[in-house]
């Protein structure tokens, strides 16, 4: 697992898994469609990666589908990192 993916995975676990919640989160775990991240809190995930990696993800690209797994979020971040390189 590369650093970027690990940072996102760690953030998701810390942010969305409550104490006593024994759900496992892996790279392909459905986050939004699986009920781990609700639309209310998806915003902090977006802001976190934008600030951490100095990128801007337009609202049109910040869809629930694009944020539905750690792997997909990492792909999204990479795509916008490349845009800004």
């Amino acid at each position: 697992m590369d650093d970027l993916t690990k940072v996102i995975l760690d953030y998701v676990k810390r942010e969305y898994i409550e104490e006593g919640d024994d759900r496992e989160v892996g790279l392909d775990t459905p986050l939004i469609s699986g009920g781990i991240v609700d639309s209310f809190s998806m915003v902090s995930l977006k802001r976190f990666v934008e600030k951490k990696y100095a990128i801007q993800i337009p609202d049109a690209d910040a869809t629930p589908a694009a944020f539905d797994s750690v792997k997909k979020i990492a792909e999204l971040v990479r795509r916008f990192q490349q845009v800004h390189v």
Binding site: E18, F40, S41
Partner: protein
């Protein structure tokens, strides 16, 4: 044929699905005034059963208090039944402004605006004062009406883990670039009965330049030494920017709510909050009753003191009997059962024993967190609670849950 067979059958199957899953909510018909003891017709058509009520929001026992009823009656005579208007057309009487001034003084704020309910206050307040340049940062266990209100406004929406001040601080740091940050919390959380850490929240708000909004519906009238609310309990009176609260619980229990706080924010609600602008004024009879409630609360703390004693006594009775009880300092005392069917079965058996409680389960509480929420009242006497605990112990023994913790109950009944 706007409502044809296809639509009817679809809705019928939805309702059948709820019923099959044990999630269908049923009303019980109460055939007496609200009080510590009531007559309940349940199921529909059954002879009324006289029971002890342990599930009302009638915290101060004022819902049927003779002085409140008399004041409401006089208000009815003096100002009529209805106003047939929203506030800003011809729906504001002198007594509406009197009540708003009284609430402002009671809550220790700058100004107050009445709404038809606190649900309406919460639905309107955020859209009235925040925009897309701003962010709300809400505790993850806030009441559904706050969630709805936040969703109706254009501000960015974020949340923090329940009462986790470290997490809240992270979020305040994350959103420092927004114009306004507003922290949103319940004062007393309605399902768990625990209190927000308003002193710590206010300290963080000051450190990170944020406003604070508190829904104190399950606090106003009895939390704090003189019953002003959670802000009094936490020593932050005057430091909460927006308090929303209800007249529909401890404060007489009829209906009505308000936004109280910084005068500019209240004025923005008067100008822009849609539930204020587009729904009827609070009925005069309710306003008159609520003013009397404030008279009673300002004369003496006897009622909130008795409620505090009742809550502590009841909590001790449950814990000593071996029930798994959520910790807290409020008159909301949840008995944890985790399994939804178990919660319903226990509630049904308690009703047969003359104790009226309701099982709560998903979606009202998170999955696997089913419970019976007991609520105390100043109208309860010690004898009520002694009778109630005897019934709880009898039913608890039947289901073999006494002395068992969360894991043991889940092992026995599943989730």
């Amino acid at each position: 044929m706007a409502y044809g067979t296809k639509a009817r059958e679809w809705y019928q199957s939805e309702i059948a699905g709820l019923k099959g899953a044990g999630l269908l909510k049923e009303e019980r018909y109460i055939r007496s005034p609200q009080d510590a003891e009531i007559d309940v017709e349940y199921p529909a058509g059954a002879a009324p059963k006289h029971v002890i009520n342990l599930c009302a929001n009638n915290y101060l026992g004022l819902s049927s208090h003779p002085e409140v009823v008399e004041a409401a009656r006089k208000g009815l005579d003096a100002r009529g039944y209805g106003m047939s208007s929203v506030r800003f057309i011809c729906g504001t009487q002198d007594i509406h402004r009197d009540l708003e001034r009284r609430l402002t003084a009671f809550l220790g704020t700058e100004d107050t605006l009445l709404f038809p309910s606190c649900m309406d206050a919460n639905a309107g307040v955020f859209e009235a004062i925040l925009s897309e340049q701003d962010v709300t940062i809400a505790d993850r266990l806030i009441h559904a009406s706050l969630v709805d209100g936040i969703r109706l406004c254009k501000a960015m929406q974020d949340s923090y883990k329940h009462s986790d001040m470290g997490h809240l601080e992270e979020k305040l740091q994350l959103h420092q670039d927004k114009r306004f940050r507003m922290i949103v919390t319940d004062g007393v959380f309605s399902m768990d009965g625990d209190l927000a850490k308003l002193d710590e929240i206010v300290a963080l708000a000051e450190k990170y330049d944020a406003m604070v909004c508190v829904d104190d519906s399950h606090s106003t009238g009895f939390i704090g030494k003189t019953g002003r609310g959670t802000h009094e309990h936490c020593g932050v009176v005057g430091k909460i920017d927006v308090i929303t609260t209800t007249l529909g619980k401890a404060m007489g229990g009829a209906s009505g709510g308000c936004v109280s706080g910084r005068k500019e924010l209240v004025e923005m609600c008067r100008q822009r909050a849609r539930p204020y602008l587009f729904s009827n004024t609070v009925a005069p009879v309710i306003v008159a009753g609520a003013i009397k409630v404030l008279d009673i609360l300002c004369q003496s703390t006897d009622r909130r003191d008795k409620l505090e004693w009742n809550a502590a006594y009841w909590r001790k009775l449950l814990v000593d009997a071996g029930f798994d009880v959520k910790k807290g300092d409020s008159p909301i005392v949840p008995v944890m059962l985790y399994n939804a069917k178990l919660a319903q079965d226990v509630a049904r058996d308690l009703f047969a024993e003359g104790i009226y409680v309701v099982g709560f389960f998903f979606p009202v509480v998170p999955k696997g967190q089913a419970r019976i929420r007991t609520q105390l009242s100043a109208a309860h006497e010690k004898a009520h609670l002694d009778r109630a605990i005897a019934a709880f112990v009898k039913v608890g023994k039947k289901y073999d849950i006494l002395g068992k913790d969360k894991n043991a109950i889940i092992q026995q009944y599943g989730l």
